[in-house]
Symmetry: C2
């Protein structure tokens, strides 16, 4: 196959060079960086090109600059870059479907950490959230987020929690979209938030996974039915 060989712009190249430079020299958060003019001269490019590359790294949180003082390395947020791209209109249907599934995967996978780290206080708070629901069989989006958000929090993993919170709106967007195309399915024995709460209180991590699967069954069904696995031959 002949693919158009991609010619990187100066900015692209400088961005890569800078990241490699930081990596090779093991720059850590707080370390001061050379100033813009110095970089531009060393790399033999204009200050503008350097600034565009730095602007990218600044957006990702890799560097910080105190205006008129200098630049320092800083600790990036893992998910900032992803967050900015989470726009349902420009993410393709495939990406959206993948995100939808990703949430289900994550939700099923938290059992061990949840049970290893749950505290009495957590369970009390979770109960309070459940008690605030006006109807156990018809929860609002806010109640949904409150409940599951608390579960993520109980894993003690802040990245994971943030990740899930980011995914949630996309998840809802996709599900709403699917729902329009499919007849609504009533489940005979739905597992409610309250049921899950009891499992967390008295059950095992295995019980939790089974309960969670039942709880998420409509979503699993949606994903596995409407989007059959396509094998690229």
């Amino acid at each position: 196959m002949l693919a158009p060989l991609e010619s990187l712009s100066m900015t692209d190249r400088v961005e890569n060079i800078l990241r490699e430079y930081f990596e090779e020299n093991a720059f850590k958060p707080g370390d001061p960086l050379p100033n813009e003019m110095e970089m531009a001269q060393k790399l033999n490019v204009s200050r503008n090109v350097v600034r565009e590359a730095l602007s990218r790294l600044r957006m990702l949180g890799m560097i910080e600059t105190r205006p008129r003082k200098g630049m320092v390395m800083s600790q990036p947020d893992l998910l900032t870059g992803m967050e900015k791209v989470l726009n349902p209109f420009i993410l393709g249907t495939k990406n959206l479907k993948n995100i939808f599934e990703l949430r289900l995967i994550l939700e099923m996978g938290i059992a061990e950490f949840l049970f290893a780290r749950k505290t009495k206080k957590d369970i009390e708070e979770l109960e309070a959230i459940v008690n605030l629901q006006s109807n156990d069989f018809e929860v609002t989006k806010e109640e949904e987020i409150a409940f599951h958000g608390k579960l993520y929090e109980m894993t003690g993993n802040s990245t994971f929690k943030r990740f899930q919170i980011l995914l949630m709106p996309v998840f809802n967007h996709v599900f709403t979209d699917y729902s329009k195309k499919r007849a609504h399915v009533e489940l005979p024995n739905p597992v409610t938030h309250r049921d899950i709460l009891e499992v967390i209180r008295k059950g095992t991590s295995d019980d939790f996974r089974q309960a969670m699967f039942k709880h998420l069954e409509p979503y699993f069904a949606t994903s596995l039915n409407t989007a059959p696995p396509k094998k690229k031959k």
Copy 2:
């Protein structure tokens, strides 16, 4: 508390404005964008500022520009932004620990999709991978990646697969780091890749989760022992 009030730079503001503009007007991949000068004039900023903002969006894959022709909206990759900051030296220990756990969570969560979508061909390929291992009880990093990578692939979720591949080096980095500080623990009954293969062949998704947990037990132990849950009071 008095926190330093953050004043956004023009570039930051333009970046936000552009993203909102794309979102509000439901720009889709392929849609042409106004040119740089037009944007600069409409926003009453210099072309430099617009270019820095556009450079950021270009990095994330939100826009593409065919040099000297024009800019078009494009379909971003979800994980590009994350990939660029995956540098163990600048990610803090907390982030690294979170990533470490995230892999465990994901690995435990894939059971349903794996079993719903596995094919004979998948299982044959997985068997081939297992058979290539020289020692079932002492697999190399490459063999490890091959095996688990195939599992991710079998979920039929390309984003998920890419996600895991990105996380793997960080995971190994963290575990190597932990291993130095802890005595090596021999497990009495390790679950090997071959065991997991058999479970995938003949077992259920529940069996899979239990097998996978046993397989990953050293990692779970590492995470749950060395990093006890800290409750922020």
